[in-house]
Subunit: 444 residues, 2 copies
């Protein structure tokens, strides 16, 4: 039986359980799934297939997995940097969101984020924002895979002016999108333990559990948050969340910076997963999460870029490099966070952390054909001693040449096939000019 598509003539970095690397191999796709992964022997002819992609000696690997972002916030990329956290949030980001987060703008921002993610090799992302239905509509059109969490916060929010309705609105969203589109998994995203009451958190987790969807929450991000929870509840944020019974294998804790060994015990015992957002934690000076301890306790941990207001990009190649280097210097141990470990976090472990590890995140037969091809004939990727080292320490998002999700090409020769990039950039630039104008008027 012939294949639908074969990606051939490249080094296949599988990220399978044996971390297998096939120096010259091919990946064959049938009905959106990986049907064969094999080495090529000299002179061998490829099996029959309707279509083919020549990796041209580059690297064939699973698409990267971004376990935490706020896609529409590309609109605020670089609007405000290098500021104290409260100034940044209360005087710039929150006012900009209040004024500009409309249905239409969420769509433009999400398209821009999808464009950036796909062009830099991300095939699956986990989002948390408001008006998430708009995000879902865009994602369905673009064809990228995503876990999309409707935001829950005990303040008036875009689309949910009355906070009493927050969990109900999120639940309605989840019910509407559950099973509707194979590549979209709806989810709930509680903003944090300090912006959601205990009642809201319990209700939201119950709704997530009832619908078998992921429950995401920013937790233990800053020292200030930890102090607030400590003052109000006499325990750490993680302990507090445990006491509310919201920690289990379907909970994703985003950040987990201010956690001590007891908190880590709690997380490990609960089975909850972590999204580690190194660049965001660095730029906002939140702190350094004890990632090596998460690893020691076998807590499933993926990487996340966070939104563009706090990073300022969606490039997981840069994130991998940063993660590997940050934790070496913070522990003064050059052996921690080796390249293979970091690559696993950016692929299969990320997929597991958001509940999709059986479906995607590695090149294994039966999994979805969520693949990327990198061009390795670039000066900064020469010579090629160890592909995994090059991927983590030298490659850039711009080395990604082809991207497919479910076997469907979304980026071909660095060109997006399902997004009108020029139109999106034009619209977001126009919007940016309005945002700047308002910011100037506002601060006068």
């Amino acid at each position: 039986m012939e294949f639908d598509l074969i990606v051939a003539n490249g080094t296949v970095v599988t990220v399978n359980p044996d971390c297998e690397i096939i120096e010259n191999g091919f990946v064959a796709v049938r009905k959106g799934k990986i049907a064969a992964v094999q080495p090529m022997t000299p002179g061998q002819t490829l099996p029959r297939s309707r279509d083919s992609i020549d990796a041209n000696g580059g690297i064939i690997m699973p698409g990267l997995v971004n376990t935490h972002t706020h896609a529409p916030m590309t609109l605020f990329r670089g609007l405000a940097d290098d500021l104290p956290l409260d100034t940044w949030l209360n005087r710039h980001i929150f006012p900009a969101e209040a004024a500009f987060i409309t249905n239409e703008n969420v769509r433009w921002g999400t398209q821009l984020a999808c464009a950036e993610m796909l062009l830099s090799g991300t095939t699956l992302f986990c989002d948390g924002y408001f008006l998430e239905e708009e995000v879902a509509e865009v994602v369905a059109n673009v064809g990228i895979r995503a876990v999309l969490g409707q935001g829950v916060i005990d303040f008036p929010a875009p689309g949910v002016p009355n906070p009493d309705e927050n969990v109900r609105a999120a639940t309605a969203y989840v019910e509407k999108w559950a099973g509707r589109y194979s590549k979209i998994s709806p989810a709930l995203f509680c903003h944090s333990p300090y912006t959601c009451s205990s009642r809201t958190l319990k209700k939201a987790k119950a709704a997530a559990a009832a619908n078998c969807v992921l429950f995401q929450i920013h937790a233990a991000e800053t020292a200030d948050e930890a102090q607030r929870i400590q003052s109000a509840s006499s325990v750490s944020p993680i302990h507090y969340l445990k006491s509310l019974d919201v920690l289990d294998a379907d909970t994703l804790l985003v950040h987990a910076v201010w956690v001590d060994d007891r908190d880590i015990d709690i997380i490990a015992q609960s089975g909850a997963c972590i999204s580690h957002n190194a660049e965001s934690n660095m730029k906002l000076a939140s702190g350094i999460a004890p990632l090596h301890k998460f690893r020691e306790r076998a807590i499933i941990t993926g990487l996340g870029t966070d939104g563009c207001a706090s990073n300022n990009d969606q490039d997981l190649f840069r994130e991998m490099d940063m993660v590997a280097k940050l934790h070496k210097v913070s522990t003064l141990d050059p052996t921690v966070m080796d390249a293979a470990t970091v690559l696993r976090m950016a692929t299969i472990e990320g997929a597991r952390a958001i509940g999709l590890g059986d479906i995607t995140g590695s090149i294994e037969t039966g999994k979805a054909a969520d693949l990327i091809v990198l061009d390795s004939r670039r000066p900064h990727l020469i010579p090629m001693y160890h592909p995994v080292s090059q991927l983590v320490y030298a490659a850039r998002g711009s080395d990604v040449r082809h991207v497919m999700v479910d076997g469907r090409l979304l980026v071909k020769d660095r060109q997006l096939l399902t997004i009108d990039t020029a139109e999106v950039m034009k619209k977001v630039n126009e919007l940016g000019r309005k945002i700047v104008q308002r910011s100037f008027n506002h601060t006068r």
Copy 2:
């Protein structure tokens, strides 16, 4: 009088003393120098020039300055990662150097480094290695600007089998290259205070001073080094170097990680400059230099990538992002190392640190036309609130479209004009296969 070249239709980020940004402007070049920097008014026609470059709405800025690298070490990019420092150095890098650092291989490695640096927007680099004359020959052919230091070490080294000849050989190299080629400044590079005796250090500094060239030295890089010097001399590495009288405004201290407040006083008083190599210090787990203190004491500090064995790239855009974020999180202060400060370190301050601040490093009339043009019509650079923020936090080396040094185009539309990239990549890949083979045989 007509200009030789005009670069127009872009946002000019001058990095001049006022950090001026011209939203729509042009830079005119005559005889290799910047002859005019002006805003464009709507409908204005450009002055007459023989040639022109359309920045296409992108960013026109000074080329980046890499204050520390070992160019030929691109040959060892990714050969050995994630290892304890002594294993990495003694079992991988030193043996590979002993076996493969020949005149010819230095030339291939240097060409690869120049290709990578130019393609990612670096127009000036400061190098330290052995067989530096070979590096200089390549650099002269390529047309990039460089300060090139011949290595001095009290061990047999490539090209200098007898260490007693090390300073004499370096001095002969400096004398040969002084004034020979306007874009190359020869220099001396003492490896470190623990691999050069006090006598060697004093002789080398005297030779550098006699020839008015830069004296570079790795200093206070690791805790181990600091302990060694402390054991042998009862003082810190910086104090030790001061006692030898080798610190002055023509000395470049590379790394300066293990320095206390008294060391920083010594550096500030001496006028010595610093090359901060954040990514290398992170990857090798050396430690985090107190960069904010260098800034407070007005010590001139540039950025360096270090060699490819310890980074593993030569991309200063990635380095800028890393520097801005690392120091925010290490001080828990999001306001330190703001984007403008980091950009200055990667341009004008870097040029000052290696003695070329009057010649290059910013867009000002009379300075050399060492310019780069970035393509800003990319999803990850949209919207454009603050060009400097985008350059530090979102841009990548691959956004660089055109590069010129002394007004001569070296990269046009992302293509190198003075390096046969395909040939260089082929040769270095061949060499890489031999290096791997020997490594395998060696470790068996």
